[in-house]
């Protein structure tokens, strides 16, 4: 039993307390029982849900592991994380899914819902054992990290996943058009002499995949949209009634291709940072509902890997610990607290078809207490993630999680 005192529910002014029992919310403003934690006047919400994180297990634990990645997630206010399967080996076997879930349960951090590969080895040739993977606990299917070059294989996957009631998510870039691009293609890439990745690589692939949704009627989730044009294609598809959802990442909202002028591989990410016009368009998509949810694409690498030159360094930015403070600080006024929390809690649950997160009695006791007012400097040395560097190092952000509770147990407490 756990009671959190001195907390506010969103939209309310009075300080309240919540008591949890056996992993669920027992009720509000009950006599304090069990362990009592002071919420310090913070705002309580259902714990955040991350649909897109690379936790690097199995096989790439020099970059991240379940313990560091799920601790980082809890520190970022997340109670649930969908991990990507582009590991070594690829998560394409039911036994691997079971092992990951079992290992994560023992950690007492954020909940792990592993995504499994759509195709064996993520090679895009032969479907993985999707039914067995679902039985083992796979949350969704994706070949993220790779692109689904063979449209026929993706079509078959969509048909099969539909029969299982499962979502497929795609990293939508045309690999041929993307070629060896390391940043957005345009005047800046030409000036810097860096190979460019054109907006059309994303838009063309999204257009193709939307036709497959129309053909199969299957649920498709488009990951990390980065271009205005691809977002417009999703908007049109939704207007046609196609069962498509999409996510946008905070780094595509807050950074642009201009960051590459530093030649720092910290800013090398796939899909690439685009233009300010794209970022503005994506924010518009959040406001008008075209974008279903936020996801971070937390993609840790070692410092040595990210200190290589721009051609050689791997793609990815790791910032699951900063996502809420970053969004709240930059866009809190535009979006409002209710909308922002929806994009990071209920919205990802809707994408997955999971029960709506709730603060009502009987709901799972997955909670975050947020300090919406106090500014703190981003200090990567304090990250729980193994990737202790950040594009936002030294920036002052507010909205830091004070406390994250998962299943009625403390998964993170600031200052611990």
């Amino acid at each position: 039993m756990l009671t959190i005192t001195n907390i506010k529910r969103p939209g309310r002014d009075q300080l309240e307390s919540v008591t949890t029992e056996n992993g669920v919310i027992k009720g509000w403003n009950l006599p304090a029982e069990g362990e009592v934690l002071d919420g310090q006047g913070g705002t309580v919400a259902p714990a955040l849900i991350e649909l897109h994180a690379h936790l690097r297990e199995p096989g790439q634990t020099e970059k991240e592991d379940l313990a560091s990645g799920l601790a980082a997630a809890a520190a970022g206010g997340y109670g649930t994380v969908v991990s990507m399967p582009n590991t070594s080996p690829v998560v394409d076997e039911p036994a691997t899914v079971r092992a990951l879930i079992e290992q994560a349960e023992g950690l007492g951090l954020a909940r792990l819902r592993p995504a499994a590969a759509l195709t064996r080895g993520q090679k895009g040739e032969q479907l993985a054992e999707l039914a067995f993977l679902k039985d083992a606990g796979a949350a969704m299917f994706t070949d993220d990290g790779r692109t689904n070059e063979n449209a026929r294989v993706l079509r078959l996957g969509l048909e099969y996943a539909r029969s299982l009631g499962m979502v497929i998510s795609v990293h939508a870039e045309d690999a041929g058009l993307r070629a060896d691009g390391v940043m957005n293609e345009g005047p800046v890439s030409e000036e810097l002499g860096l190979p460019g990745n054109p907006w059309a690589a994303e838009a063309a692939r999204v257009a193709r995949d939307l036709e497959l949704v129309a053909l199969t009627g299957a649920r498709l989730h488009v990951q990390h949209l980065s271009t205005a044009r691809a977002l417009d294609l999703v908007r049109e598809a939704k207007a046609r009634g196609l069962p498509v959802t999409c996510e946008v990442c905070p780094h595509h909202l807050t950074l642009t291709e201009e960051a590459l002028r530093s030649f720092d591989a910290l800013y090398k990410v796939a899909p690439p940072l685009r233009t300010q016009a794209d970022a503005d368009h994506l924010l518009g998509g959040l406001l008008d509902g075209t974008v279903d949810c936020l996801a971070t694409d937390h993609a840790p690498h070692t410092r040595a890997e990210k200190e290589r030159d721009l051609l050689d360094a791997p793609f990815g930015i790791a910032y699951i610990e900063l996502a809420f403070p970053l969004m709240w600080t930059r866009f809190g006024e535009r979006l409002g607290l209710e909308k922002l929390l929806d994009l990071m809690t209920a919205a990802p649950a809707r994408v997955m078809g999971w029960p709506a997160p709730s603060l009502e009695a009987g709901a799972p006791a997955d909670l975050v207490v947020l300090d919406l007012g106090t500014e703190r400097e981003v200090n990567p040395a304090e990250f729980k993630s193994k990737a202790k560097f950040s594009p936002w190092a030294g920036e002052r952000l507010k909205g830091w999680p004070l406390l994250t509770v998962v299943g009625g147990k403390v998964a993170f407490r600031r200052g611990d």
């Binding site: 293609e185 890439s189 002499g193 860096l194 030649f263 040595a304 200190e307 290589r308 051609l311």
Partner: protein, 312 residues
């Protein structure tokens, strides 16, 4: 006599922040260096006691020799670091490499690297003066300086001169550096190549136009530069055939009839004879290709002096 000098970039990574005055002073100083090279004893003590490291992460014997001779003629100690693709595959970061070299008390770096921006990273990691000897597709500033110097030698000034650069613009750091430098010195640059090798994003810089029509590019030009065509561009699908490329874009006598009557011909080397340039032109009276090589050493001496000693 010593006079106080304003702070200047102690790096030459590209031409950002370089004014026409400083560039002109640098080229003027190269005249002095050329006089040194005409003496029986081709050595001055300007860089005595300084250690210069040529850090080449990509093969280039000619550029490395030009820089090493330039540094030695200025009495610097020179060490060479050469790393092929092998050290990258060993996973050593660029930062580790630079920090080790800096621990040897290297005073300045001359960097060649296959990745755009790598020279910037060396400057950041070392905190030392860095001369970019070519980074990816981005910049090769001493090549552009020696091109400017060679044109100036011919005409006395670059003001109002038209320079046509013909070839694989997309992958060329020489084209990018010239497009950045020559307009600062008053010249007009026309970049020309097959559309697949001519990124539209380069148009719009001051003093730079682009065209895929070689006759239009060369018309009225005072200098015509042919770029080396990497034959692997065939595999990238950029070209249908080398024959078609040569048939349209080769710098030869027929094409040069469109240029100014006294127009000179440049090439950054090494040449694919009778591909991007005809042998007749390369060996003919318009050619300043060997002059470029000669001037390269003087220009690099001037750059070293400018960055490491001062008052250029």
């Amino acid at each position: 006599m010593t006079v106080p000098t304003p702070p200047r970039p102690r790096t030459l990574l590209d031409f950002q922040g370089w004014t026409q005055e400083r560039l002109t002073a640098l080229l003027d100083n190269a005249d002095t260096m050329n006089q040194v090279l005409d003496r029986p004893v081709k050595k001055v003590p300007a860089l005595q006691g300084l250690t210069v490291c040529t850090a080449f992460f990509e093969n280039s014997t000619r550029t490395r020799i030009s820089f090493e001779l330039a540094a030695r003629r200025m009495s610097a100690d020179v060490v060479s670091f050469a790393a092929g693709a092998s050290s990258l595959s060993k996973g050593e970061s660029l930062r580790d490499t630079v920090e080790v070299l800096t621990a040897y008390k290297v005073d300045a770096y001359i960097v060649r690297h296959p990745a755009s921006g790598a020279a910037h990273l060396v400057a950041r990691y070392s905190g030392k003066p860095v001369i970019n000897a070519g980074d990816g597709r981005r910049a090769h500033p001493t090549q552009a300086l020696l091109d400017a110097y060679t044109i100036r030698q011919e005409y006395g000034s670059l003001e109002g001169k038209k320079v046509a650069i013909i070839g694989d613009i997309r992958h060329s750091r020489v084209a990018r550096s010239n497009a950045e430098l020559l307009p600062k010195l008053g010249a007009q640059v026309v970049l020309c190549g097959p559309a697949t090798l001519l990124p539209a994003g380069l148009a719009g810089q001051p003093g730079v136009t682009v065209t895929s029509d070689p006759r239009e590019a060369v018309r009225g030009a005072h200098a015509v530069m042919a770029l080396r065509l990497q034959q692997e561009r065939m595999n990238g699908g950029y070209l249908a055939s080398l024959q078609e490329y040569a048939g349209r874009y080769q710098v030869n006598e027929a094409l040069l009839r469109e240029a100014e009557s006294g127009a000179i011909v440049l090439h950054p080397g090494p040449m694919n004879r009778d591909l991007e340039i005809s042998s007749e032109v390369a060996d003919g009276p318009r050619s300043r290709i060997l002059k470029q090589v000669e001037n390269g050493q003087a220009v690099r001496m001037s750059v070293l002096y400018h960055l490491l000693v001062g008052r250029a």
